[in-house]
């Protein structure tokens, strides 16, 4: 398994496409248990990140993802801005100086990303946040190496699993038991991140 700078660029662009496509659904999920802006936040932020990536050329994947992270941090706001921003910033640090990522290197980035989300947001697995998706994906990668198809499946399954949970962090937590029965919007946007990864890897490999 190898991910070139070109594929990593495609990943960022594809994430953006997915966020645009699912913007309304993401906001609807957020409206049910939050304030209804997650789709707009994601769409706004990743659009800017995609523009940034398109306007520049990168050999260094670290530099590319640092730019993506800074763009997210400065354009998204809300809870998801610092969280996605920090995630990609930490990953970028791990990917610094590389123009291609093998399974181990990619996993290091994901590990760093999850660490960043945890430190920033102080949530744990099961709190019905984006971490409910990121943590199992990371665990699987650490154990078996990167399998993007598998990561995609796990992300989808784990996003689904947030439906039955009671939110412990973020706005949805204010609803207490009433947060049950709805998928966490950040979990779904995270699922889209790994769905994008599987797609671009497959296209890049073929």
């Amino acid at each position: 398994m190898e991910l070139s700078a070109a594929v990593m660029k495609q990943w960022a662009l594809r994430i953006n496409e997915k966020m645009q496509e699912h913007k309304d659904k993401l906001s609807e999920l957020d409206q049910a248990i939050g304030d209804g802006d997650h789709g707009h936040n994601m769409a706004r932020g990743f659009q800017e990140a995609a523009n940034k990536v398109n306007d520049s050329s990168y050999d260094d994947i670290g530099t590319m993802y640092k730019d993506i992270a800074s763009t997210l941090i400065s354009k998204v706001g809300g809870a998801s801005g610092p969280l996605y921003g920090t995630a990609f910033l930490k990953a970028a640090n791990a990917w610094k100086g590389r123009d291609v990522l093998d399974s181990e290197a990619f996993t290091e980035g994901i590990e760093a990303a999850v660490g960043g989300i945890e430190t920033r947001g102080k949530a744990s697995f099961g709190d019905k946040t984006m971490l409910d998706v990121w943590i199992p994906v990371r665990d699987e990668m650490k154990e078996r190496g990167v399998d993007t198809e598998q990561a995609n499946k796990t992300a989808a399954k784990e996003a689904e699993a947030t439906i039955d949970r009671v939110a412990k962090k973020g706005r949805a937590s204010y609803l207490g038991e009433r947060s049950k029965g709805h998928m966490d919007p950040g979990a779904f946007s995270s699922q889209l991140v790994f769905e994008a990864l599987a797609e671009v890897y497959k296209e890049g490999a073929s």
Binding site: S27, E28, Q31, G34, D35, G36, D37, H40, N41, R44, I73, S74, K75, V76, G77, G78, A79, S80, G81, P82, L83, R120, G121, K169, G170, R171, S173, Y174, L175, G176, R178
Partner: protein, 322 residues
């Protein structure tokens, strides 16, 4: 969605333009941001106060920028915390060297974004302190409580303290004292519509209300049958008092805050009952605020805020600006 806007994407920037155009003697915007600062910022020797958060809470936060109140306000998208770089711009614009206090409402987004900004400012050698407001007793765990209307009392009291020339540590301690002694609880009769989504945040039947709503158009902690004003007020006041340690003879400030669409007439009906209830318990209301201080767009409803006053808070509140 029926709103007096030109487009969903321009709302915040056009509001900021309007604010500055309407009050050019008092306010100034920092170019390419949605940061509003006092026209005369930075004020030499004075500790600077910054508040902010998502937009849609007007007059909070930009409406509190001015002499004796805030030095800057940072407006995010509607109900979305502003980004760290915008907060950093505000910090840089108002710091006179005496240090900066960030007044932050306890929402994941606000806390994280302001925190990142504070880190960035420290890296530029600006001394920044933060006070996090958690006045919403609708949430039972005190650590998880949201910052709501009580935040505006921090603006007023900490603003008066900073205007007196107190040091950053002193202003921080006073602001923290307000934060520790203020409690709020809200009720909503009708939702609001976030412009970007175009649809009301939830639906309520003609005989329903949401108890324990925050300030972002969300549902509250419980849906209940609509009650009369006095009964609603009793419920809110009782909930707030249950979380405070007030005695016969305690002195407080009271705020009846409208969420956006509730007529002032109704807020005064609520105020009347709240004052009665406090009087019945031997609590002295030294100052009452009735109006819109921290709104949720055009949400219908109100919140009750009670602040326990010590001598210093009382003096600063009664002598300061509103």
């Amino acid at each position: 969605m029926k709103k007096l806007i030109n487009g969903v994407d321009q709302i915040v920037s056009e509001m900021v333009e309007g604010l500055v155009a309407a009050h050019p003697d008092k306010l100034r915007a920092i170019e390419n941001t949605n940061v509003i600062v006092r026209a005369d910022a930075p004020v030499q020797g004075k500790v600077a106060l910054i508040s902010g958060g998502g937009s849609g809470h007007e007059p909070a936060h930009a409406g509190y920028v001015g002499e004796g109140l805030l030095d800057a306000a940072v407006s995010g998208e509607v109900f979305t915390s502003p980004t760290p770089d915008q907060v950093l711009e505000a910090i840089k614009a108002v710091d006179s060297g005496a240090g900066v206090l960030l007044i932050v409402k306890n929402y994941s987004g606000d806390v994280m974004n302001f925190d990142m900004a504070a880190d960035l400012a420290e890296a530029e050698d600006i001394t920044v302190k933060q006070v996090v407001i958690r006045d919403d007793v609708a949430i039972s765990n005190p650590d998880d409580r949201r910052g709501v209307a009580g935040t505006t009392l921090v603006h007023m009291i900490a603003g008066a303290a900073a205007a007196e020339g107190k040091s950053l540590d002193e202003v921080e301690a006073i602001a923290q004292g307000v934060a520790d002694n203020v409690r709020s609880m809200g009720v909503s009769l009708a939702p609001c519509t976030v412009p970007a989504s175009g649809k009301p945040g939830f639906t309520l039947e003609e005989n329903e209300m949401e108890i324990g709503t925050g300030i972002h158009g969300e549902q509250g902690v419980e849906r209940r049958e609509l009650m009369q004003a006095d009964a609603v007020t009793e419920e809110l006041v009782q909930h707030v008092l249950d979380d405070m340690h007030l005695n016969d003879g305690s002195e407080v400030a009271l705020m009846i805050n409208g969420q956006g669409a509730t007529p002032l007439m109704e807020l005064y009906i609520v105020a009347r009952k709240a004052i009665q209830l406090l009087k019945d318990r031997g609590i002295h209301v030294k100052k009452t605020f009735v109006g819109e201080y921290m709104t949720s767009l055009e949400m219908t409803g109100c919140s009750v805020t009670i602040l326990n006053l010590d001598e210093e808070r009382k003096r600063l509140l009664l002598s300061g600006r509103e």
